[in-house]
């Protein structure tokens, strides 16, 4: 039986079509995927992302534990700020990509992928014994998370939550009171647009959801969310990122801080950095047609060079776009490629990511 978020009935009333994702029953779309996509690109949309993991790490050893199990320089994250970071295993493989927020000097909130919550909980617990005492709590089902995204989202936050959005820098986090409830508001998102993620208890989430919909924000589902992240070339766990893929291969080296001291995966990653990665993640744009995950990428001169990890349609470019891993020698912008889709060879080229113009300071990857 798939889990449902506390907003399930609100979403049902809005006519949501549901799909199963990582053990949760979540809206795929409410009206039309492209309409929801364009609302986020041009105005504002709201996603229920309560399925994302929410792990609280608190105590004297919190900073040092996270410094040891993630690739970013956690010590440099100020109170009230967060950072995109990676958890790696000993061979440098990515076991999750997360955002870590420092709520207090010794307290962090980690937002994880839904499918990786248990893995990260176990990882933190297994590694905590070398550090001063700390508490690790999984708050995933106790809290909801709404993602308000789009160029008009600051106006919406001002109107609905009476918040001065100028106080929010990228990845900042603030506790606020609004609508008779308490919220933790973060400036972040996964769409490339201006946006805020709003963390709260279920009762507050229902009131915030209703207020946002009443204010004209378009409810948006996983279909639009996936296309929005794809247009920005953002990786998705279990597709571009797995425990067998390193940050170097995934093009995420800028999130790895070798000079911060020891962390899990450091020596394996350093060795790969010296030797060079055999494959690299690239983006591609097709001349026509759409490639889906698993399609083979070829070049006329040398046959198969890799595989598609995500593929779809860009409503902005009106073309098929996607990402995949190719042999490093072929990871060159504008290189002509073919992608084999159901026995047909589609033509395209390796393209820079994001596929569309960078749209906001919240766009990070």
């Amino acid at each position: 039986m798939a889990k449902r978020t506390p907003l399930f009935h609100e979403q049902q009333q809005l006519g949501a079509k549901f799909t199963e994702f990582s053990g949760w029953e979540l809206p795929l779309y409410y009206s039309k995927i492209i309409d929801e996509h364009m609302a986020v690109r041009t105005s504002s949309g709201v996603f229920d992302v309560s399925h994302l993991g929410k792990i609280n790490v608190k105590g004297a050893g919190a900073n040092d534990l996270l410094q040891f199990v993630t690739t970013s320089d956690v010590a440099k994250i100020e109170i009230g700020r967060g950072a995109y970071t990676l958890f790696c295993n000993s061979i440098g493989g990515i076991i999750d990509d997360d955002i870590a927020y420092r709520l207090e000097e010794n307290e962090f909130l980690i937002i994880t992928n839904a499918s990786r919550i248990q893995t990260i909980m176990a990882w933190l617990n297994d590694n905590k014994y070398d550090f001063p005492p700390l508490q690790i709590r999984n708050l995933t089902t106790k809290l909801c998370l709404l993602a308000l995204q789009g160029p008009k989202s600051p106006d919406v936050l001002r109107a609905v939550f009476k918040e001065d959005t100028a106080r929010y820098k990228q990845y900042s986090v603030r506790n606020i009171s609004a609508l008779g409830n308490k919220f933790t508001v973060m400036r972040s998102g996964y769409t490339g647009e201006e946006g805020f993620e709003i963390l709260c208890d279920p009762k507050a989430a229902i009131s915030a959801w209703k207020a946002l919909i009443s204010a004209g924000v378009k409810p948006a589902g996983l279909g639009a969310r996936d296309m929005l992240r794809l247009e920005m070339g953002y990786p998705l766990y279990d597709h571009e990122l797995t425990a067998r893929i390193t940050p170097i291969e995934a093009g995420l080296l800028r999130f790895v801080y070798f000079d911060k001291g020891e962390f899990i995966g450091r020596s394996a990653l350093y060795a790969q950095l010296e030797k060079g990665a055999e494959k690299k993640l690239v983006g591609f744009v097709l001349d026509s047609g759409i490639a889906r995950e698993g399609s083979i990428i070829t070049v006329p001169s040398n046959g198969e060079i890799g595989k598609v990890t995500s593929g779809g349609f860009s409503p902005i470019l009106r073309k098929g776009i996607g990402m995949g891993y190719v042999k490093s020698d072929y990871a060159e912008y504008d290189m002509a490629i073919n992608i084999i889709v159901r026995g047909k060879s589609l033509t395209g080229h390796i393209a820079k990511r994001p596929f569309i113009e960078k749209r906001s300071v919240s766009a990070v990857a």
């Binding site: 995927i33 279909g223 047609g289």
Partner: protein, 126 residues
């Protein structure tokens, strides 16, 4: 409302026959199940096709579906407007969203297809 002047194939294509020429499209049920259609691959003009053949593809933002021909014959026309504006299939599946036309090689084939009532019952059971 499923048009009563058309015949229907189990893979959710419809057929309209006029003077030995069959116009083929996909049903309202099919376009709704696919969602936003964004790309269309249609058969070639003059291609000889057999009833039940996969003759093309319809891509929506969330999935890909095979396009079948419910009847045999020679492809004599394809809807270029639908290739350029695939959303027309969502908007008017039985009208401007038609897909291709076939010169029938066996006009009797049409008799093995479902009428509107039978198709509605078929969809009910899916």
């Amino acid at each position: 409302m499923t048009p009563e002047d058309l015949k229907y194939y189990k893979e959710h294509e419809w057929v309209r026959v006029e003077n030995g020429i069959a116009t083929v499209g996909i049903t309202d049920y099919a376009q709704d199940a696919l969602g936003d259609i964004v790309y269309l691959d249609l058969p070639d003009i003059d291609e000889e096709v057999m009833a039940g053949d996969i003759v093309g593809e319809i891509e929506s933002v969330k999935s890909t579906a095979d396009l079948h021909t419910p009847v045999s014959g020679k492809v004599i026309e394809i809807n270029k407007n639908a290739i350029d504006n695939p959303e027309i299939i969502n908007e008017q599946p039985y009208g401007d969203g038609w897909l291709f036309k076939i010169e029938l090689s066996d006009p009797d084939e049409i008799n093995s297809l479902m009428d509107a009532k039978a198709y509605d019952e078929y969809v009910e059971e899916l």
